[in-house]
């Protein structure tokens, strides 16, 4: 028996609403006639292929994004990305709706089941391990930029076939900032150090030694003082992450870069206006990341960008929840989200209506790059290839 069978109708309705609205707003076409898998095309893309994956940790709801009332919040996604990309209207997450474990599920292509708040590595191999081992890539070619201290172990799994040293480097900009702050004085930086919006106070940053800090600064060709000074001018942790990602792209140009935005999760504080602000900021930052891709010669013309929330948030009508504030009910709205794909070889102005799962991203990246994600449970999305 499919325990989610009762949600299917609602998931479809969510997708239908997105589709109808987007068709009206953007004139996008359906992918049905375009979705045949093109293996030769995929093969041709592999040389120099790069991918930038942006996830919104702290899901968004349709009401604040793709529905008419939310349109004003996502001008870049709506006006720039959709006309130039392929949009999946129904991405379902059937796993645990906690940000770390859900992002780990996105990264492994398997619904991970560990405690969301535990500092553990994913049980199943990560896309970074598949990528590096399968293609013989160096450590510098796969990176994760994540806002939360809890994400420190997401770069590589505890799986027997992979493990330490075979995955991606993980940069936690808040941890760097905490180490770079003058004499551990957080004054002026508090807004950038908030680690987990499900907790009312941020956890103290896990330790980064001076040596590690300076190694990282050297790698990014960034002085610690400049980093701390620039951070003071930023408004949010996600802006800090994108700033670090920019340095990373410019200095190391990793072929597989994963950026987890997290500002939207301020919704847990119950402040709708801050949640909306964060959606608007994430939309703007997606536009900035795309511009970064276009302005870096190592990336321009050969990069595929994926944008997807890790999951949604509770609907206003789910009695067990409190609307936008949390993602605790497991209702269809909190499980159903979307994905945007844009870049080299991606079909433009196309909507894909069929339901796909968030675990499908890893095998799709595998087909894009040419590695085999053997343990992933997802399926390749041929519409992207």
């Amino acid at each position: 028996m499919d325990p989610f069978g009762t949600h299917r109708g609602i998931e479809h309705a969510i997708s239908w609403n997105r589709r109808e609205f987007l068709r009206t707003a953007t004139g996008a076409t359906a992918a049905a006639m375009l979705s045949a898998f093109s293996p030769l095309r995929a093969m041709a893309m592999r040389k120099g292929q790069k991918a930038v994956v942006v996830t919104f940790g702290g899901g968004t709801r349709d009401e604040e994004t793709f529905m008419p009332d939310g349109q004003e919040n996502i001008p870049h996604l709506l006006k720039d990305f959709i006309p130039q990309g392929t949009f999946f209207t129904q991405v379902v997450n059937r796993g645990i709706l906690g940000h770390y474990v859900a992002t780990a599920s996105l990264v492994t292509g398997v619904y991970e089941t560990f405690n969301n708040f535990a500092a553990v590595a994913p049980d199943n191999p990560t896309v970074f391990e598949y990528f590096r081992k399968g293609l013989g890539r160096p450590a510098s070619d796969a990176w994760v930029v994540a806002p939360s201290n809890g994400f420190g172990l997401i770069g590589e799994s505890s799986h027997y076939s992979y493990g330490p040293g075979q995955g991606a480097g993980v940069i936690l900009p808040k941890r760097l900032l905490a180490a770079a702050m003058p004499a551990n004085n957080s004054s002026g930086y508090d807004h950038l150090l908030r680690d987990n919006y499900e907790s009312p106070v941020y956890a103290p940053a896990l330790g980064v030694s001076d040596e590690q800090l300076h190694q990282m600064a050297q790698m990014l060709k960034l002085s610690v003082a400049d980093f701390a000074a620039h951070a003071r001018s930023l408004r949010s942790p996600d802006e800090l992450s994108v700033y670090v990602a920019r340095q990373l792209m410019h200095q190391l140009a990793p072929s597989l870069l994963w950026i987890t935005l997290h500002d939207i999760d301020v919704a847990h504080a119950g402040t709708y206006s801050l949640y909306i602000d964060a959606i608007q900021r994430s939309d703007r930052l997606c536009g900035e990341i795309w511009q970064m891709i276009q302005s870096e010669p190592e990336y321009a013309g050969k990069t595929t960008m994926f944008i997807l929330p890790d999951f949604g948030r509770d609907s206003d009508t789910a009695s067990g929840g409190n609307g936008f504030q949390h993602h605790r009910t497991g209702d269809a709205f909190s499980r159903t989200t979307w994905m945007m794909v844009r870049g080299a070889g991606v079909r433009e102005n196309v909507l894909v209506d069929r339901p796909v799962e968030s675990t499908d991203l890893v095998p799709t990246l595998g087909s894009l790059f040419g590695f085999s994600p053997d343990f992933s449970h997802g399926k390749v999305l041929p519409e992207v290839l």
Partner: protein, 403 residues
């Protein structure tokens, strides 16, 4: 411990009334599955501090369960009994600490993809017992009022955007209409339909002058010393790097005396309520708008009041809240524009939560000191607008004339 071995001794640490209830139903408790019993005990253990409506619900559950034959009980519990629980859960002290058990149970159900089965089982159970032993009907149509305080700035934000489709939008309300009128309305309803914890005022600022023995009230401003004490506690737990789950558990176990609640109210039920709002609601400790919305939600869900007024006052900025959490705040800086958006959503959610209660209800959302309001009542035509010059008293008259 197997459920069949549950004995009265296991409930010795329960408060008096809770102990009495648990020990008088031992035979029944021994027949309930592990995925259900601790959740029932989680409610029973705090029976002494429950609102009358909550006590009634617990009593009705026991009446329902006791009325079933063994076969019927087995059938009613079958969906819970089918759930596969971990050995760790089975070995927990689920009689002594049922809340901790339920947290672990929730994590286990999510991890094993059984959360939807559990939700379906819970919904079916609630439907069955409410049908078999229904709650008494409310003696009067309920009235909910959301007030956006005049200190909140008017901007070009389209106010009441989510409420307008459900009622009449007034755009010529006399800005001189007074909040005191609403308090008088609550007082009048209290006199007409006296009920313990049946009439509420929740305020994002200071506590208004009320007949406290008849109107339940909590106010963000009046709870400031308690909030400060809780924030200090949060900082201590956080500094120990114990993690989010431990922080949540420690907060949930906060005793009112630990954070100075006795200086705010001497009502033990209201005291526990206020503490639960501050410890179980995310953001309630630092944002007044969140406090009001969550407190109204919880009051409606738990106390099932006949009347509720929720007044949203300006909240502080995010930066100011960060400073407060860090213990370095000199002075709170307010965000009146952001507060308008939050209060608007809070008003909408208050209406949704009012709608969840059985029986008829009417609702008014009003921007104090300005000329906008929305009224929702059975006889009013949804999605319409009125450009009449009206005052607040007239709007209240229109909705109450339908009750």
């Amino acid at each position: 411990m197997p459920i069949q071995q549950v004995q009265a001794e296991q409930f010795q640490s329960y408060p008096p009334q809770a102990k009495q209830i648990a020990t008088s139903h031992i035979g029944l408790l021994q027949q309930l599955p592990l995925a259900f019993l601790p959740l029932l005990l989680r409610e029973v253990i705090v029976y002494d501090w429950k609102f009358p409506a909550e006590r009634d619900e617990i009593d009705r559950q026991f009446r329902y369960l006791e009325s079933l034959t063994a076969v019927q009980l087995s059938s009613a519990m079958s969906s819970f009994a089918k759930l596969k629980l971990s050995p760790e859960l089975e070995s927990m002290d689920w009689t002594g600490a049922p809340s901790r058990f339920s947290e672990k149970l929730s994590a286990n159900l999510w991890a094993t993809h059984q959360i939807d089965d559990f939700s379906n089982a819970a919904e079916e159970y609630i439907r069955a017992f409410n049908t078999a032993v229904p709650a008494a009907a409310a003696p009067v149509s309920r009235l909910g009022i959301a007030v956006i305080a005049q200190e909140i700035s008017q901007t070009n934000y389209r106010l009441f955007r989510k409420l307008r489709p459900h009622g009449v939008y007034f755009d010529h309300v006399d800005p001189k209409s007074s909040y005191e009128l609403l308090l008088e309305t609550v007082a009048a309803r209290t006199q007409a339909h006296p009920a313990p914890y049946g009439h509420w005022c929740i305020d994002g600022g200071e506590q208004p002058a009320l007949q406290k023995n008849q109107i339940a009230s909590v106010a963000y401003g009046s709870l400031q010393p308690v909030r400060k004490a809780l924030i200090r506690k949060m900082q201590q737990v956080s500094a120990s790097q114990a993690g989010v789950e431990v922080l949540r558990t420690r907060l949930a176990e906060t005793d009112p005396s630990e954070v100075g609640m006795k200086h705010v109210t001497d009502d033990p039920v209201l005291s526990r309520f206020a503490i639960s709002v501050l410890t179980e609601g995310a953001g309630t400790q630092i944002y007044s708008t969140t406090f009001v919305q969550w407190a109204a939600r919880e009051a409606l869900r738990r106390a099932r009041p006949l009347t509720i007024v929720a007044r949203f006052a300006p909240r502080q900025t995010e930066e100011s809240a960060d400073e407060e959490l860090s213990g370095i705040q000199q002075r709170a800086v307010l965000d009146p524009a952001g507060s308008l958006v939050d209060a608007d959503m809070g008003a909408y959610y208050t209406w949704i939560n009012l709608q969840r209660l059985p029986g008829d209800s009417s609702f008014v959302a009003w921007f104090e000191g300005h000329n906008e309001a929305v009224a929702i009542a059975p006889s009013l035509v949804p999605g319409t607008a009125s450009h009449d010059n009206v005052n607040l008293a007239e709007i209240l008259r229109r909705i109450q004339s339908t009750s």
